[in-house]
């Protein structure tokens, strides 16, 4: 651990990597809470994959990643909604059809780009090579997303918990859905360098699920999830640096280990306490 700290102090690239992954841990953790509470984990996976053709297009056109990513991400979200609303195709199937189509077009578009290492980095991330400009864009997206969540917290809460009440009193629930999808594409773009497109869904749903097992209050869940995201990033980066492992994958596995701990030991929801409690109850009844 000591040499990791020394290395951080010494090497600029490691400082940037650490800061970027911490920011990604926070924004993925926060937005992920709403994704899992709205039952949209699969949708999160789909949108993050659908960003690929947008990134490729931006590359070809020489414009910023965001525009392309938000464009193809939203087109895919609209397409998914359109298919499931206008046919007997169920939502999960329509998600599967649309995001694989988007992803496939992305792979074809990316072959027009110069080197195959680009594809590799977009898919799997490479936080140790993060550039200052990318770090800055992650910061800007991060602040924007957090401000949006803070400002619309009340509306996000009620429309996630009881969409019927929300639309009855006049909230535009469809607009909120697509607004959240837009934030999701932004978060995916911000996470490209850190964990990559394929694994970003893990950063969205794993820390949020860990937090979900630990609390009964949404605002606590948001802070916990962000904290767990940050912890996963730091741990992942440490193991990645020390043992020379792929950074994105290591960060995701760190988040998974934290989830397993909560799954087993959470005071209220954990597997172990729950079985101890039911065993005690049974014993009590057998004695009486």
């Amino acid at each position: 651990m000591m040499s990791f700290v020394e290395a951080i102090i010494q090497y600029g690239f490691l400082q940037k990597a650490l800061l970027t992954s911490i920011m990604v841990g926070i924004i993925c953790g926060v937005i992920g809470c709403f994704i899992i509470l709205r039952g949209m984990a699969l949708m999160g996976d789909a949108i993050s994959h659908a960003v690929l053709p947008g990134v490729a297009l931006s590359y070809i056109l020489g414009i910023n990643f965001f525009f392309g990513a938000v464009f193809t991400g939203l087109i895919t979200a609209l397409g998914i909604g359109f298919i499931s609303n206008n046919s007997r195709i169920k939502n999960d199937v329509s998600i599967g059809i649309m995001f694989t189509a988007a992803f496939a077009s992305g792979i074809i578009l990316i072959t027009f780009m110069k080197s195959s290492t680009d594809l590799y980095h977009i898919l799997f991330g490479n936080v140790l090579a993060v550039r200052p400009s990318e770090m800055l864009s992650t910061l800007i997206i991060g602040i924007f997303v957090l401000v949006c969540i803070y400002v619309f917290y009340k509306e996000l809460l009620v429309s996630s918990f009881d969409p019927t009440m929300a639309s009855a009193y006049g909230l535009p629930t469809k607009l909120i859905h697509y607004f959240l999808m837009t934030l999701l594409t932004l978060v995916t773009v911000a996470s490209l360098q850190t964990v990559g497109i394929i694994l970003v869904v893990a950063m969205l749903i794993t820390p949020a699920s860990t937090a979900y097992l630990l609390t009964d209050r949404l605002w606590v869940m948001l802070y916990l999830s962000a904290g767990i995201g940050v912890l996963s990033s730091i741990l992942g980066l440490y193991f990645s640096y020390t043992y020379n492992l792929a950074s994105g994958a290591t960060i995701v596995l760190a988040a998974t280990v934290l989830f397993i701990l909560a799954f087993l030991f959470s005071p209220k929801q954990g597997l172990i306490w729950r079985s101890i409690k039911s065993a005690r109850k049974r014993e009590m009844h057998s004695q009486s």
Binding site: K154, F161, M165, A168
Partner: protein, 247 residues
């Protein structure tokens, strides 16, 4: 007496098959009204139209002489228990506070006074001591009372409840109905989609008997007659045959 709800020539369909056909009725202010009818009669559909949650094909709906849009924050909705995610990370008191949102407007946060008011509403339904519990830890009757408290917190003119007595214990059912009667006596209008015919005559002033069409509407004494009820409940079979032929 002032008219609370006026519905005229209402038609609603789902993908071309009719759910409500030419429904017209008016309800006066300060009434406790039950919507009854067989399964698939369009009871919940009617409620959703009154809440502006689904589009109507044609017809007019007015609430207290205004359009539904103008009245939307003055209407409280108590959902069917089965439509709620009971694992959601929210406590009882925070659920009741949601009732203050419609009158807060966007950007504004509930303040201490809203919280105090939510506590009072919770006290009114008799479960103040459960305020810090997660909603899934409550019994069915207690859960229904939380949502009634949420409706009270909104201080609305009208209450719409969808099957509020399904899976609810006797104590909670009595508490809920006594609060609904109190609201009625204070001049509010309360509309309840109701499944169980046995209690209908004790609970409501008026009944709306539906089976896609309006079969009968009026005082309980008039609607709650075997010959009137059988017109709604026996028509089920010919109406199914009719649909089969037309498609």
């Amino acid at each position: 007496m002032k008219t609370a709800i006026s519905v005229s020539n209402l038609f609603v369909s789902y993908d071309g098959s009719e759910a409500l056909k030419n429904v017209s009725f008016t309800v006066d202010k300060g009434k406790l009204v039950g919507i009854i009818g067989p399964n698939g009669a369009g009871k919940s559909t009617l409620l959703k139209v009154l809440l502006n949650l689904i589009k109507k094909d044609s017809g007019r709906v007015e609430l207290l002489g205004k359009s539904i849009k103008e009245m939307k924050t003055k209407i409280a909705y108590v959902p069917q228990r089965s439509s709620i995610d009971w694992d959601f990370p929210i406590t009882v008191i925070d659920t009741v506070i949601l009732g203050t949102y419609p009158n807060l407007g966007i950007f504004k946060r509930p303040k201490k006074e809203h919280k105090t008011w939510a506590h009072e509403c919770l006290k009114k339904v008799g479960i103040a001591e459960l305020h810090n519990r997660q909603i899934g830890e409550l019994s069915g009757g207690q859960q229904q009372r939380v949502f009634l408290a949420r409706a009270l917190a909104q201080k609305p003119e009208m209450y719409f409840l969808d099957e509020p007595f399904v899976g609810v214990d006797v104590t909670s059912e009595e508490k809920i109905i006594s609060i609904l009667k109190e609201l009625r006596d204070s001049g509010k209008t309360v509309i309840v989609v109701h499944h169980d015919l046995s209690k209908a005559s004790d609970y409501f002033n008026e009944l709306i008997l539906l089976n896609k069409e309006l079969i009968e509407h009026g005082n309980v004494e008039r609607v709650f007659q075997p010959d009137v009820l059988s017109r709604a409940y026996s028509i089920q079979f010919p109406s199914i045959i009719g649909e089969g032929v037309s498609s």
